[in-house]
């Protein structure tokens, strides 16, 4: 398991969070309980299984629903 912190562009509407949550949850290998999209700090935190999904996949999924990823850090959970 890896722990990722993804910094996004500034989020402005709380419904953005639902979109991002939905997009990330639809991927395989995501620990959905750990998924946390923070509105005010515009960050996504989650644990994921790096054998099933890569941080790039997660970034792409977020990008596809229209939010720019600024920076992400991954550490062993």
């Amino acid at each position: 398991m890896q722990k990722a912190t993804i910094q996004l562009e500034t989020l402005t509407c709380p419904s953005c969070m639902q979109k991002i949550e939905g997009a990330v949850k639809s991927l395989d290998g995501i620990d959905t309980d750990s998924l946390n999209v923070s509105f005010n700090s515009s960050k996504v935190k989650l644990n994921f299984d790096d054998e099933k999904v890569s941080i790039k996949d997660i970034e792409n999924a977020i990008d596809k629903v229209g939010y720019e990823v600024k920076k992400s850090t991954v550490r062993p959970a």
Partner: protein, 616 residues
């Protein structure tokens, strides 16, 4: 293509606004309906493009977002050829989003200031011994780093060589520079004001004290209260419900105009944004004033506080005992004090330290045959005399005779809340000292402010004797005082208050009072930016500054009422809009969108007031 459209949202908003103005000028001034219609059609099409893209992205992950409602509404207006409505609604929606972003950034500014203080680069010693600039993420524990004048300390570490003055305001809130030399600890995010130092990294990244503070604040600003979680759940079903409602209305009434108006009016904007906005602005204000609030549950509890319980030593008092009263029973004072000081220097008892500090520089005698009497004091031979230093019990053991005046003095000193240190030389009492802890300056006024803010009971609990505790309570105007309390007695007392239904805050030092800190609804640790204080408490006072307590309490009260105001505004607006669509004839899509966007701005601006909150 999608990306390009979303990126140029601001330009699209501007163009669509200009087109709408052109349309109305050509209609009203020149009565040219062709230009009017075409300008509006173009404005609608370019305006709806970014909204429709967002709606599509949302639907793909099975979310019915506001964008979906607006897109359908605009398409509907287009279908019935009401281009005026479709153009104005898209413009207002885009323009509103732009204003929201601008104002939201303001409410988040205080916390942004804090995170921007985080160090970004470091001068790291490479294998060849040279220092090279690297990103702070590349620093590992054990690396040797160079910090130059004016630079930020990149990580928590220990000084290896060099000397300098460091401004630690970012950690302790205290802006007076602190001297650092070899073996001093330094903190990430503090600024070296002069000198050059080399440090070895002890903790890096999120493990540093500063990293923890930032993480704490970031988590706090996004933590959700129960009410907020309810709103979240509610809004997940609310938007699809609006969609269904409008479909039903359309099926029954066959009135597309009415159906799409409901779509626009039903947008839940102000409700979902109102509470987080108050939260972030309030927590930001706290961070600026040296008060870290750990989230919205803490804010809610703190704002409704009934009883505040204080530890005495180190919280209400400085925690550093000092000699407060002295009586001497001899003429040759100087020698006696020199004896006393020499003996006390042998001891590491806190009272001994106070005595040595009080006497200051004296002649130093060699001390022989030192005998520490447990629970009594010290007996030793100095300069050929038998010197005993300790409490009344030790004097009795040494057969020291006490006359009437001495007994009276002892009684008086005890009544004043002193711990006693008696000194006898060759079996005669020479000096009596009363030592007590000093009350922190300003605490009395701060406690009065807390009372004014509506705290019903102010209680002190202490391990000290009841007399001392009563005295402190009387001096400070506390409502209750209990002495002889062990840490477990304190937590039992708090439990008792809670069982009575009270909301209790405990203010104590982070180490020995952790059970009480954890048990109380609001634990407030007085430890200057130490890990323990940050982790165990719900509210962290930077630099142990007691005077920030009233600000913290007043602030949480303001945040709580600000949230309530925002909820009332949001719900009120939706109710009024829905009522007027059914019961009045002036309501249409454009007005609905205007009121809707307006209400979002009103709650954001209302939340922003918290940034400027000051006690009185």
């Amino acid at each position: 293509m999608q990306r390009a459209i979303l990126k140029s949202k601001n330009q699209i908003t501007l163009v669509s606004g200009i087109l709408i103005v052109i349309a109305f000028i050509s209609k009203l001034a020149f009565n040219n309906l062709d230009i009017f219609t075409w300008a509006l059609v173009i404005a609608s099409i370019i305006g709806v493009a970014p909204i429709a893209i967002q709606a599509y992205q949302a639907l793909r992950v099975k979310v019915v977002s506001i964008d979906v409602l607006v897109t359908i509404a605009v398409l509907g207006a287009f279908l019935i050829q009401n281009f005026e409505e479709s153009a104005i609604v898209t413009f207002l929606f885009l323009f509103g989003a732009y204003l929201e972003l601008r104002t939201l950034n303001k409410t988040r500014s205080a916390i942004k200031e804090l995170t921007e203080m985080a160090p970004e680069s470091a001068l790291k010693q490479m294998e060849n011994g040279e220092f090279e600039e690297v990103e702070v993420d590349e620093v590992d524990v054990g690396d040797i780093l160079l910090v130059k004048t004016g630079a930020k300390v990149p990580v928590d570490g220990t000084v290896l060589s060099g000397e300098g003055h460091i401004n630690e305001a970012s950690i302790t809130g205290e802006s007076l520079p602190v001297t650092k030399k070899k073996n001093s600890g330094v903190f990430a995010g503090t600024i070296l004001e002069n000198g050059t130092i080399q440090i070895v990294a002890d903790r890096v990244g999120e493990d540093t004290t500063f990293g923890k503070i930032i993480e704490l604040v970031e988590e706090a600003q996004d933590s959700k209260s129960e009410a907020e979680r309810f709103i979240d759940r509610f809004s997940k079903w609310y938007t699809p419900a609006v969609l269904v409602l409008s479909a039903i209305v359309w099926l029954i009434s066959r009135d597309i105009e009415l159906a799409i108006t409901i779509l626009v009016l039903g947008c839940p904007g102000a409700l979902v944004i109102g509470v987080p906005v108050s939260n972030v602005a309030g927590i930001g204000n706290g961070a600026r004033h040296g008060v870290l609030l750990k989230g919205s549950e803490v804010i809610r509890d703190f704002s409704r506080l009934d009883t505040m319980v204080f530890d005495k030593t180190g919280t209400l008092t400085i925690g550093n005992p000092e000699v407060a009263e002295v009586e001497t029973y001899t003429d040759t004072n100087e020698d006696i004090l020199a004896y006393l000081s020499s003996v006390e220097k042998e001891s590491d008892h806190p009272l001994a330290k106070a005595v040595v500090d009080y006497i200051g520089e004296t002649k130093a005698y060699t001390v022989d045959k030192t005998d520490v009497v447990k629970g009594g004091g010290i007996v030793a031979e100095v300069d050929g005399h038998r010197v005993a230093v300790g409490n009344v019990a030790l004097m009795e053991e040494e057969n020291v005779a006490l006359n009437e005046k001495m007994r009276k003095d002892i009684e008086r000193f005890e009544k004043n809340g002193n711990s006693l240190v008696l000194t006898s030389v060759d079996g005669e009492l020479k000096v009596l000292m009363g030592i007590r802890d000093q009350i922190r300056p300003g605490v009395r006024e701060d406690l009065q402010r807390l009372k004014k803010l509506g705290v019903k009971n102010l209680v002190v609990l202490s391990g000290d004797n009841q007399g001392t505790v009563d005295l402190v309570a009387k001096e400070l105007g506390l409502t209750e005082a209990h002495g002889h309390m062990l840490p477990e007695d304190k937590s039992a007392y708090i439990k008792k208050l809670q069982d009575e239904g009270q909301i209790v805050a405990f203010v104590g030092d982070g180490v020995n009072d952790s059970p009480s800190l954890a048990l109380a609804q609001i634990g407030i640790a007085m430890g200057s930016g130490t890990d323990v204080a940050i982790e165990t408490s719900d509210v962290v006072l930077m630099n142990s500054d007691f005077s920030r307590l009233p600000h913290a309490l007043g602030l949480t009260k303001s945040i709580a009422s600000n949230m309530l105001q925002n909820i009332i505004i949001a719900v009120g607006v939706v109710l009024v809009l829905l009522a007027s669509v059914f019961f009045s004839d002036w309501m249409n899509m454009s007005i609905g969108m205007l009121v809707h966007e307006g209400s979002i701005l009103v709650v954001i601006i209302n939340g922003m007031r918290l940034l400027r909150y000051k006690l009185r």
